[in-house]
Symmetry: C2
DNA sequence: GTATCTGCAAACCCTTTGCAATAAG
DNA sequence: CTTATTGCAAAGGGTTTGCAGATAC
């Protein structure tokens, strides 16, 4: 955790920006858990702890964390953006139940080979990817089956 | 193209809803091209042809087309939703330049095997997936290199 | 005829931004 | 001291919705 803080501090300083308590509070809170989060959740988590950081500051800090490579946006179909930090899991593969919205995170090595093929075929310099697989989880499939009988 | 219209008409009637000229106009316009689109583009394309369909109707029709399995949402990082129709390309693999936002569509058979593994490992009934690979295209990479010299 | 659909404009909600006060370096 | 950052509240911008008139069936 200290690592990310250090990466962020250096990133901020390198750009002649200021490393403020608000920015540190935000990154500390984000890296204190391994879950996905959205702005509201983060704001509430901070407020419950008695820390007062405005949403504006959160909205202004998240793009910095993205540019620093510490977090990434994750697209959910619920109308607002979600984020996850990249520490320890640079790849982003999600298996989503379209019914209950449960998310299972998985890893598959074949994607690294695919990445190599893309570099070769299209000459892109690849920085990351996001694979979202949609479907019905066993429970929801069963419920749906029962409902249509 | 007639196929999709038929699928949609049946989908609408099966639900006791009404197959209106506006709904037909929208689906006809969507399937008249193979590009991605967003609500504004679709609205303008219709208006340029002298067809007047409100954005509200477009916004109300798109979820129906999604439910009918005829189009899917595509997440772009530009603040609003994009769509593409699923006719002929059920898989959605995009290679995106993060600089110029160019999109290359590709297909890779290894993803079908990955899908099989997911079915086996997690017992999901998979309906689709979306793979977004991010990076720099050759041109933008070259420009960036030249700029930092 | 009845229930759904349309267009309009207002409401919504997430996100961004202008500004004056504050604080980092 | 200088310049960036903060919090607030207002503005933005895409999307949704209430409503009255129109229309599919």
């Amino acid at each position: 955790m200290v690592d990310e803080i250090e990466v962020f501090r250096r990133f901020i300083r390198r750009r002649g920006m200021r490393y403020t308590p608000e920015r540190e509070t935000i990154i500390l809170e984000i890296f204190s858990r391994h879950d996905h989060f959205d702005v509201d959740e983060l704001y509430l988590r901070l407020h419950r702890q008695g820390v007062r950081v405005s949403k504006a500051s959160i909205y202004r800090t998240l793009p910095l964390l993205i540019e620093a490579g510490l977090i990434t946006e994750v697209f959910f179909e619920d109308g607002h953006m979600h984020y996850e930090h990249t520490f320890g899991h640079e790849q982003h593969c999600h298996l989503r139940c379209t019914e209950c919205r449960r998310v299972i995170e998985f890893f598959d090595a074949s994607l690294e080979k695919l990445e190599d093929r893309l570099v070769r075929d299209y000459d892109f310099q690849i920085s990351g990817y996001s694979l979202e697989v949609f479907g019905l989880c066993p429970q929801c499939r069963e419920q749906r089956r029962a409902a249509t009988e």
